[in-house]
Symmetry: C2
Subunit: 244 residues, 2 copies
DNA sequence: ATCGAAAATATCCTATAGGATTAGCTGCAG
DNA sequence: CTGCAGCTAATCCTATAGGATATTTTCGAT
């Protein structure tokens, strides 16, 4: 038994990617989803009990999480949620983004013809969600889920450019950046007031890609990130927006 | 007890960084040290028996190794040594290095005054080891240890520039690059015939840093890596150099 | 002789138990 | 009331055992 006789074994086939990855996804969602206080202890046994698995896969997932910078580890003392990003680290993060995403834009411009349609679709979705967010903010119906959706479509534009490079190393590094950017947004809470600016700047980047010139694409990207940096600085210490 | 009364407790304090990191270092040395055939299975139990530890720390070390790209993993099938780098991946690696190290050079130029002395020392060491390698090659006394030493001092120059940025994210990414570059050198076996070229180009980079201009530093670094790429292309499929 | 199938081996994956260490709390002295 | 010693409890780390799966070997049929 256990041939392909019973085609309804799909549900168990989905499970066939190891417990480790499922635990990883769940803990990651928990970390980027709801803002958890930095320094909170992440007990291996407690997580294992909650998820009804043994500590071993939890341990492996945390090792993987550690390399993303979301959790920190002290030997013999356990894992903790990484401390809030400092102002200095924020500047370093933007410097890194300018280097990485600027270079990625230049490389992706080689395949501009294949990339432009995707960017257009992503930008259209970005516009739509931005309008929804504005309407919700006006009627005081801004939900956390809607915020997350906005962050996703915003980052999706940047991610497409990384994928456009067709460079596995750069794509891998983009994910390392992604987790940090998400974490930054939890604390800064910007990126909602400047939604229109972001859309406009993304449109400029798209125009640059339409020209097919690598330098233009890189310059527009660097310009965009530099402006995001500036807006983040000013919005850094303003009180949070009210969210339902 | 356990105050600073007994200062001889240092030896046990060295051990106090957990088995996982020690296993990681050992396996990493094994992978970058002696060239292991790609696709070789890395049995968790076998490694655990060899190192006289339980499988758990081995498992964690392999998860960490997986993110460096040195080993691959298939769920329910185990770990293997990552396949040899392909020509396309090699080009991608050089593209990534140009983006990352070019940007790092521009950022490190901010602290050029503190960085230049270190680069001078590293370059001097690079020169010394290069002379030793040349002499050894002439007398047919080229050892693997000497080769490793050369690779180390060569990369040390690049690593200093990353550290000069004082940017934790870029430094972290530099280590991700480092393992790939080491692995590439195992297969390409270049970097020994062009030792003099490398030293000369590093000297040019140092000169650029002396001017303190970020653009000059970045340009010299990109130029260097581009030349390394070109030399790697030509040397890619030449027979191996005889090494004792 | 070659191809296919089935059994045996080795390996991974998960679960549970025990020793060692650390964090938190209670109680007492100053 | 404050500070410190000592104890309790929770946690991490390591080790071992059992079930499930993949790979290899062997045997038999064409």
């Amino acid at each position: 038994m256990s041939e392909s006789t019973y085609p309804l074994g799909d549900s168990v086939l989905i499970e066939r990617k190891g417990l480790r990855d499922r635990v990883y996804d769940l803990v990651l969602d928990m970390l980027v989803g709801q803002a958890i206080a930095p320094g909170t202890r992440l007990s291996i046994d407690a997580i294992a009990r909650d998820l009804k698995v043994s500590p071993t896969p939890v341990r492996e997932a945390l090792v993987q999480l550690e390399r993303t910078g979301l959790v920190t580890r002290e030997p013999l003392k356990g894992y903790r949620v990484a401390p809030q990003i400092t102002d200095g680290q924020l500047e370093s993060l933007f410097d890194t983004r300018i280097v990485l995403e600027g270079g990625a834009a230049a490389l992706a411009a080689r395949h501009a013809d294949a990339l432009v349609p995707r960017l257009e679709a992503a930008l259209a979705e970005h516009r739509t969600v931005t309008a929804t967010v504005r309407a919700a903010a006006a009627t005081d119906g801004l939900t956390v889920a809607l915020l997350r959706q906005y962050f996703t479509v915003d980052w999706n534009f940047h991610h497409l450019i990384f994928e456009g490079t067709d460079n596995p190393f750069l794509i891998d590094m983009s994910e390392a950046i992604s987790t940090r950017v998400h974490r930054m947004r939890q604390t800064v809470l910007s990126g909602v007031t400047d939604a229109d600016d972001a859309v406009a700047e993304h449109a400029l980047i798209l125009d640059a890609f339409r020209t097919g010139k690598p330098d233009a694409a890189a310059a527009s990207m660097r310009d965009h990130i530099e402006k995001v940096r500036f807006r983040s600085r000013t919005d850094a210490h303003t009180p949070d927006v009210h969210v339902h």
